[in-house]
């Protein structure tokens, strides 16, 4: 058997370093362990439609209020954040309930308050092609009133991993603060 051709030692070094560089590159682009747990996020901005799977949301307004009421006589004091938005499904009305509506502040994940009357709850069934005007009301701790927050909206109530999510960054310190605000019932958008 003829011996294998000799590779110059310089070439060997170059090959070795090249492989190391390649390995470093692979590690650099490999997502972290929690990447597999992330939903498919679409970042939204006020007044701009944001689309996800079967979902289009346009956030219109965000404000704070010290006292809120609804159309049926319920009211409460507190530190409240109200976000109004238009939402529609795009292709199917099956499983198109907006179950995921969270306001994340630091480690805390606040859910849409269940205290206002039923008609005012933003976690409602979305129609295909016919947008609804909804208001999500969050009751938060006083200490979070001026924090950075992230609004998360989507269909997946418990397991967000395999579905889309619309996210909006909010600086609560920059929002208007109303003494009192009304949470309107969900209705068709104009």
């Amino acid at each position: 058997m003829s011996p294998a051709p000799r590779v110059g030692s310089l070439a060997q070094w170059a090959a070795g370093l090249g492989l190391v560089a390649l390995a470093w590159g692979v590690i650099a682009v490999t997502p972290g362990d929690d990447f597999a747990d992330q939903p498919f996020v679409t970042q939204a901005r006020i007044d701009e439609p944001a689309e996800g799977r079967n979902l289009r949301i346009t956030v219109l307004d965000a404000r704070r209020a010290d006292h809120v009421s609804d159309e049926r006589g319920w009211s409460a004091d507190g530190t409240w954040v109200l976000v109004s938005f238009e939402a529609e499904a795009l292709s199917s009305e099956k499983d198109s309930t907006l179950s995921r509506a969270l306001l994340r502040i630091g480690d805390r994940a606040y859910t849409v308050s269940d205290r206002p009357s039923v008609g005012a709850d933003a976690r409602t069934h979305l129609a295909v092609g016919v947008p609804k005007l909804l208001t999500a009301a969050f009751e938060i701790l006083d200490e979070d009133a001026d924090a950075q927050a992230t609004l998360e909206l989507g269909f997946a109530k418990y397991d967000a991993r395999l579905d889309s999510e619309i996210r909006l960054a909010l600086d609560l310190a920059e929002l208007d603060v109303d003494d009192t605000a009304e949470i309107p019932d969900g209705r068709w958008a104009e």
């Binding site: 747990d37 606040y110 859910t111």
Partner: protein, 231 residues
């Protein structure tokens, strides 16, 4: 004699003795005796079978107003009240008068980072000794929860909040009377940390292990005051 063999043999160190001895032992003997030694060793910690269920923890006795930390939340039970009806509580006693409402007033604090469901807490972690499982009409007897301030049914407690609620059951009319002692047991859920990548963070889940108990003296407010539900 130390067995000096002719030249060519290595010096007899312990290591070489072991090697020579090992060479002479049939392999089957090695495995059998290793297994036997291992099993003998497991006797020291009780064998390979699962350990028997942990001995029942003694229940922490509570007084009305004492807070109990379940790990997931803190609950304080204050009063037990019998009343004919309690609008806004979620409990609707039968019209025929065979039932009344048993209400336990409690404060629940959510020190965690996620919203807390009071109905699943009341269903899975609060047990009243002697509570029937069925109502006179055959339906299951279930607990309801409601906020005291605005009567929100099955309220969800946001992270960091502390809320006063009423747990209510539709109970047979004469099962409890004023001044009876109502015995409740509070159970704690178990923290489960998934070990597989991609199964997400840990969470509180079954089993609910009894952890604390309390006796509340039952008050009977009869038909109740007109404004009771607007409290």
């Amino acid at each position: 004699m130390s067995g000096e063999r002719p030249q060519g043999r290595e010096r007899r160190t312990p290591a070489t003795w072991i090697r020579v001895a090992a060479d002479k032992v049939p392999p089957k003997w090695v495995t059998v005796s290793a297994v036997a030694l291992f099993l003998a060793g497991t006797a020291a910690f009780g064998g390979l079978a699962d350990a028997p269920a942990a001995a029942e923890k003694p229940l922490t006795p509570l007084e009305p107003g004492d807070a109990h930390d379940t790990g997931e939340l803190k609950v304080t039970l204050d009063r037990a009240v019998l009343i004919d009806t309690l609008d806004g509580s979620g409990t609707y006693p039968l019209d025929d008068g065979s039932e009344r409402v048993l209400a336990v007033l409690a404060t629940i604090e959510n020190p965690g980072n996620e919203a807390l469901d009071t109905l699943s807490f009341a269903t899975d972690q609060i047990a009243v000794t002697g509570m029937p499982t069925e109502r006179p009409d055959g339906r299951a007897l279930e607990v309801s929860t409601a906020r005291l301030d605005d009567a929100t049914i099955s309220p969800v407690i946001q992270p960091g909040f502390s809320v006063e609620i009423a747990l209510t059951w539709p109970v047979p009319r004469d099962l409890w009377r004023a001044d009876d002692e109502l015995h409740l047991t509070i159970s704690d859920l178990t923290w489960f940390e998934p070990t597989f990548l991609g199964d997400g963070p840990g969470f509180w889940t079954e089993p609910a292990v009894p952890a604390a108990e309390i006796d509340l003296v039952v008050e009977d407010v009869g038909a109740g005051v007109e404004t009771e539900d607007a409290q």
